[in-house]
């Protein structure tokens, strides 16, 4: 493609059509900072699965609220793309934004705690007794996770459910790594009490 008025010395211009899908995450963020629509779409496509899963696990909210939080996470990322300096992985940065949004959302939803606590236990019918017991435990665990405080829930979801490294979770949440392990320890204590039916998660 030749710019009108371009001199012959600049022609031919060979444009090699590498799509934004070929760019690294850092490259996508840099392109997002220029308002590039294709880069925004590619960043969303690349990370929506993980961000959606994290938010859904963190909030136990209805699908519309999760969708709205997912969109807001990416809108905040687009808005702040020029401030991203590559100190952490893009995934860590995005989850950090999501964690902050979920925290704000949770404050507004504080009155719905009782509803979150009323997560039903699925009925168990027949089948392998061990499997049935495991399902009961998983239902109790899901209910217990919903009843954890936000700080404990986010480390449990990131490290134990999503299997992130402690350092990566610490970077996303903006806390020291030691704090991640301490919170995870507290979360497991509460959840174990829930699973054994010996106490309530706070």
């Amino acid at each position: 493609m030749r710019t009108p008025g371009a001199s012959a010395r600049l022609v031919p211009l060979r444009r090699e059509g590498v799509s934004v899908d070929e760019l690294s995450d850092d490259g996508l963020i840099a392109a997002c900072a220029t308002g590039d629509r294709a880069a925004r779409a590619a960043l969303f496509a690349r990370h929506v699965g993980g961000v959606h899963r994290f938010i859904a696990r963190m909030t136990a909210a209805d699908a519309d609220a999760v969708d709205d939080l997912v969109q807001t996470t990416f809108l905040e990322a687009f808005r702040g793309a020029a401030r991203y300096r590559g100190g952490s992985q893009v995934r860590t940065w995005l989850y950090g934004i999501a964690a902050n949004l979920v925290r704000t959302y949770a404050r507004g939803e504080i009155r719905r705690k009782a509803a979150l606590a009323a997560v039903r236990t699925l009925p168990v019918r027949g089948g392998d007794p061990d499997a049935a017991e495991r399902r009961v435990m998983m239902d109790r665990l899901a209910a217990g996770v919903a009843r954890l405080s936000h700080e404990l829930r986010e480390v449990f979801v990131l490290v134990d459910v999503e299997e992130w490294k402690g350092a990566e979770a610490a970077a996303a949440l903006g806390v020291p790594e030691g704090t991640v392990w301490r919170r995870l320890h507290d979360a497991r204590l509460r959840l174990r009490a829930m699973l054994e039916g010996g106490g309530a998660a706070s």
Binding site: G5, D26, A30, V48, R53, F74, A82, V161, G166
Partner: protein, 384 residues
């Protein structure tokens, strides 16, 4: 034997505290605790993942992009000015406790002395440079040439200039990062608010951060200008041959026209080979003409196409050919390993990943390469 803190067992159960794990294998109480941790972790991993089907994700993405049209990108954050020693910035609240002033006595004095000595040394260095180069109109820098070595990793170029004092109340933004290939020759200087590089030979990878001043790369044929962009360029006898834009946008100007090249595109100086040879007999020695099958840039493009088409072995071979160009060597070497891996050739993949880690140990994809290397099956033992 002292048992580790219970919190360390939590880290151990996630595989991140080897010493605590080792202790738990020998200590019955800690082994029990570890077993509980691992059981809970296993249960957590088995929790069903909230589903996001493709159709819903597409709808969500379409709605997001429509909303994003109204988004204004925030300007980059400029770091605040560093407060002068001894004169605390009134905008920064003191973090010291009331009793701290009594404790800091000797340490505080040592700190002040150290700062004073460092400031004096910096002032002396600036004064010496000012005497040697009295008031230059443009702070020209010597030609920087990385020494050729056995290997040819890209070499970070240290900034040779002494930062000018920042205007009062304003921080001086960091200059763009420039990585030069071995043997690269270029001159760097500041021309007004523009970071100016005259490229003679070799390859440069340049990262112009949002807060950095705009950069101009000057060749005898064109000038490349970029702000907030990452690009790789190669020069040959003063002629800029290639500009590959990795992020952002670059403008290429020949004095009468300007062309914008956006992220993902490559601009190639496609001077007719005969003219180039007549004008510069050394041109033929510089490498194959752009666009030919042996041209690394063309090989990279062909490799990308082959990978998309699922021809991983062919893609790997092409990526290895493309790695001959220092401007794309890092990306091409890594992609060659990935392609061999995808082709199921564990031996070549292992060798390629190792080659990549040897050449680019600090690469952003080095961690991924190490993970992939660990995942690959160990080579079969030599038959006796």
């Amino acid at each position: 034997v002292t048992c580790p803190d219970p919190i360390r067992l939590v880290a151990a159960s996630a595989g991140e505290d080897v010493a605590a794990s080792a202790h738990a294998t020998a200590c019955p109480a800690c082994r029990r605790a570890m077993r509980d941790h691992l059981a809970l972790r296993e249960l957590a991993r088995a929790l069903p993942a909230p589903a996001l089907d493709r159709e819903h994700a597409d709808e969500l993405g379409a709605a997001l992009l429509a909303r994003a049209e109204a988004v204004t990108v925030d300007p980059p954050v400029v770091p605040p000015p560093i407060p002068v020693a001894g004169r605390p910035d009134p905008l920064i609240p003191s973090m010291r406790s009331p009793g701290a002033s009594a404790r800091r006595g000797t340490d505080g004095r040592r700190h002040v002395i150290a700062v004073a000595v460092a400031t004096a040394a910096l002032a002396a260095a600036v004064a010496v440079i000012a005497i040697v180069h009295p008031d230059p109109p443009e702070r020209a820098l010597p030609v920087v040439s990385a020494p050729p070595g056995d290997r040819e990793p890209e070499t970070a170029v240290a900034y040779l200039d002494v930062p000018a004092p920042a205007p009062a109340g304003r921080a001086r933004p960091a200059a763009a990062d420039v990585i030069a290939s071995a043997g690269a020759r270029f001159e760097r200087s500041e021309a007004g608010a523009v970071d100016r590089i005259v490229l003679r030979d070799g390859a440069l990878t340049i990262d112009v951060a949002p807060a950095s001043p705009p950069i101009a790369i000057v060749g005898t044929n064109v000038t490349v200008r970029a702000t907030r962009a990452r690009l790789a360029t190669r020069g040959d006898a003063g002629v800029i041959r290639h500009v590959r834009v990795l992020a952002g946008t670059a403008e290429i100007e020949d004095g009468s026209a300007v062309i914008a090249v956006v992220a993902g595109e490559t601009w190639t100086w496609d001077e007719p080979a005969a003219v180039a040879a007549a004008a510069d007999p050394a041109a033929e020695r510089a490498g194959p003409p752009a666009g030919s099958p042996d041209d690394p840039m063309a090989a990279f493009t062909a490799a990308t196409d082959a990978r998309k088409a699922g021809a991983h072995a062919r893609a790997a071979a092409l990526f290895e050919r493309a790695a001959a160009d220092a401007t794309i060597a890092e990306e091409a070497t890594f992609m060659a390993a990935v392609a061999w891996d995808a082709a199921g050739d564990a031996g070549r993949a292992r060798a390629a990943y190792r080659r990549f880690l040897d050449r680019f140990p600090e690469s952003r994809t080095a961690a991924a390469a190490r993970t992939a290397l660990d995942r690959l099956p160990a080579p079969a033992p030599e038959p006796e």
